[in-house]
Amino acid sequence: MNVVVCVKQIPDPADPGALDPGTKTLKRDVKLILDESDTYGVEMALQLVDKAGEGSVHLVSMAPNNERSGLATALAMGAASATLISDPALLGSDALTTAKLLAAAIGERDGVDLVISGSESSDGYTGTVPTQIAAVLDLPSITAAKAITVDGGQVQIQRQTNAGYDDVTCSLPCVVSVTAGVVEPRYPSFKGIMAAKSKPVDERTAADLGFDAGQVGWAGAGQEIVDIAAAPARSAGEVVEDDGESYTKVIEFLENLKVI
C-alpha cells in the first residue's frame, strides 16, 4: 500500500499573518509549519499502510525557500520520504498551477495506490487543489472523506455531507481529500523527530518537473488578485434581555447556524 500525501507548509496561524501589499499575497518568508488540517491525511495514510502491513507514506509539498519545517513534522509522525517542490519561479502560482506541479511530482512515482490531501489549506482556502490534481492525473476524486477503508483494489469512503455521510466505493488508485475526521493525528515522538532527520527529501524545481518559467508563477497564473482589504472588525454581539422567553432566541440562533 503506497500512499502519497499532499501537505502544505503554512505560516503559523498562532502568529498574526501579514499580506504583502506588493504581491497581494500572504507573506510566506517566515518559518512555516505543517498545516494542521494535513495532519489528518498523514495520520490516515499511516494507519492504512500499517493495516496493509506493507508499503509506505510519501509526502509531496510545494513551498518557497526550500522550507521543510512542516515536512519534518510529517516525517517525524512516520512518513518515509518526501518530495519538496521549491523554486523562486513558482512565486504567484495559482491553485491550478499548484495542482499541476503536485500532480507532476506524484506522477514521477511508480506504484502509487492512493493520493490523500486535506480538503483545503488553512491559509489559502481555495479548496480546489485536490480535485484539480485528480483531473490532471486522470484519477477518480472523492472529497470530504472522514474515514477511509481499503479492501483489495477498492477504497470505501465515508463522505461527509450536511445531513450525515455517504458511503462511497471507488477503485484504486484515486485522489481523496479528507476532513478532520475520526482519526486522531499522532504527536511526533522523540525518536520520530530524530529519525526524520535522515529520511530522504527530494528537491525538485519547476524545470525538473517539465515546466518552463512561462507556465508557472505569476506568468502562468490564470487569475489576478485585483485588490486586498483588511477583514472588517468583528461586530458587537446581540444582547437579549431575558423576559422569560429569551430561550426562543437561543433556539432561533442555533437553528440559523444549523447546529440543531
Partner: protein
C-alpha cells in the same frame, strides 16, 4: 558565539508543547486539588519516548544531553503543568544519572531500558530530618547481612514520588559516624519494599499532584549488586548530579514564570477598570516587562550552564547562578502575575496562585538561595567559608 537556532531543539520544544497542550490548567488544578498523580500525562510523555531522551542509546534511550532534557522540562513547566508535571517524570528521566555514570552492568542492564521506556518509577532518598543541606549527618544505616547483602534502617524525608515508585536511589551510611565527613556514605538503587518500609505523604503548600513523603526503613534487605558505584563514595556519586539538577530546575522555574506571565498578560489585555485596560497602566505593565526580562536572562545563563556541562566543562558557577536567577525570576513573575489579577489572583480558577505556590518552592529547593550564595561567595569569589 553562535546563537543560531538549533532545529532539533525547536522540534523537541514544539513536540513537547503539543503533548502538553492536551493537559490544560484545569487538568493540573484538579490533580493538585485532589492530590492525584497525573497518570494520563505521564503515559503520554512515555509513549512519545520523552522519558528516555537522556538515557544512553545503548539502553534504548535517546542519548541526548542536559541541554535537550532541560528543554523538555522547561516546555512542560511553561505549559502550565509546572512542578506537578515536571516532578511526575523528572526522576525517571534524570534520577538514574548516577547509575549511568557509576553503576555496574547488572544495574544498568536491569533498570536503564525500563527507565528509557518510562516503565520505571524512581524516587530519590537523600534528605533526613536532621541532615538537610549538611548531608554528612545522614544516619540511615546499611549493615552487611553476612551473605553479600545489606540491611537498611532509618528515616528519610522529602522523598518525592515514593508512593508511586518501585525503586529508590538511597544514600545511606555504611561506615563511620554522622558529622564525620562524607566518606562513610554509600549509594544503593533499592526496591521500595513495602514490607519493610512505611511511606507517609507530607502535607505541603503546593505541587500536590506528586506527594513528597517521609519514608521509614525498618531492616529492609537490599541485594549487594544494588550498590551504585563504590562503598563510601555515595556522596561523590550524587555530587556528580547536582549541577545538572540545578540546570534542570532553573529551566523548570523559568517555565513556571513564563506560564504566569502569559496568564497575566492575557488578563491585563482583557480586564478593563475605570474605562481602560489595566495593561495600559505602567504599574501593571512595567513589572511584567521586568519579569519577562529576568526570565530571559536566567534562561540564557541556564543554557550556558547546560552547554558547558554537555561539553565536559566545569559548570558549578553557571549552574548555581542559573538556579539562583531562575528562582528569583520565577517567583517575581508569579508574584506579579498574582498582583496583576488582583483579588482574583487568589482564586484557584485563575491558576496563578498555583504557579505562585510552586514558584516559591524554587527558592528553597533543591538548594536554598542562601546556600547558593555561599557557594558563589566561597568558590567563585574566594571569600572565607561562612558556615
Amino acid at each position: 558565539m553562535d546563537f543560531t537556532p538549533n532545529p532539533d531543539h525547536e522540534a523537541i520544544a514544539e513536540a513537547v508543547d503539543r503533548v502538553c497542550a492536551q493537559y490544560d490548567d484545569t487538568y493540573w488544578m484538579e490533580k493538585d486539588d485532589k492530590h492525584e498523580f497525573p497518570w494520563e500525562f505521564y503515559k503520554s510523555m512515555a509513549e512519545g519516548g520523552w522519558l528516555g531522551i537522556v538515557i544512553p542509546e545503548e539502553y534504548g534511550g535517546g542519548g541526548q544531553g542536559i541541554t535537550e532534557g532541560a528543554i523538555v522540562l522547561n516546555r512542560i513547566a511553561a505549559s502550565g503543568a509546572g512542578m506537578n508535571g515536571c516532578t511526575a517524570l523528572h526522576l525517571t528521566m534524570f534520577g538514574l544519572n548516577p547509575v549511568v555514570k557509576f553503576g555496574n552492568d547488572q544495574l544498568k542492564d536491569t533498570f536503564l531500558p525500563r527507565a528509557a521506556a518510562g516503565d520505571l518509577h524512581v524516587a530519590f532518598g537523600v534528605t533526613e530530618p536532621d541532615a538537610g543541606t549538611d548531608t554528612s549527618r545522614i544516619t540511615t544505616r546499611a549493615v552487611e547481612d553476612g551473605m553479600g547483602g545489606w540491611i537498611v534502617s532509618g528515616r528519610k524525608i522529602w522523598t518525592s514520588k515514593a508512593l508511586e515508585s518501585e525503586v529508590v536511589l538511597l544514600l545511606v551510611r555504611t561506615d563511620g559516624e554522622p558529622g564525620q565527613g562524607f566518606g562513610g556514605l554509600t549509594l544503593f538503587l533499592a526496591d521500595l519494599n513495602r514490607d519493610y518500609c512505611d511511606i507517609r505523604p507530607i502535607p505541603k503548600v503546593g505541587r500536590n499532584a506528586v506527594a513528597s513523603c517521609e519514608v521509614f526503613y525498618d531492616e529492609m534487605p537490599v541485594d549487594g549488586w544494588r550498590m551504585v558505584g563504590e562503598r563510601g563514595k555515595g556522596f561523590h556519586h550524587i555530587l556528580h548530579g547536582l549541577n545538572p539538577e540545578r540546570i534542570l530546575l532553573a529551566n523548570v522555574a523559568c517555565g513556571i514564570g513564563e506560564a504566569a506571565i502569559r496568564r497575566a498578560v492575557n488578563y491585563a489585555n482583557e480586564r478593563s477598570v475605570f474605562g481602560r485596560l489595566i495593561g495600559a497602566n505602567q504599574a501593571i505593565s512595567h513589572p511584567l516587562a521586568q519579569a519577562h526580562m529576568q526570565l530571559k536572562a536566567a534562561m540564557q545563563m541556564a543554557a550556558l550552564a547546560a552547554w558547558r556541562y554537555d561539553n565536559g566543562l566545569e559548570c558549578g558557577e553557571q549552574a548555581n547562578t542559573a538556579k539562583y536567577l531562575a528562582a528569583e525570576a520565577s517567583y517575581f513573575a508569579a508574584d506579579q502575575a498574582l498582583q496583576t489579577h488582583g483579588g482574583l489572583g487568589y482564586a484557584s480558577e485563575y491558576h496563578v496562585e498555583r504557579y505562585w505556590r510552586e514558584a516559591r518552592l524554587q527558592r528553597i529547593a533543591p538548594v536554598s538561595q542562601e546556600m547558593t550564595c555561599n557557594f558563589i561567595a566561597q568558590n567563585v569569589l574566594g571569600l572565607p567559608r561562612s558556615y
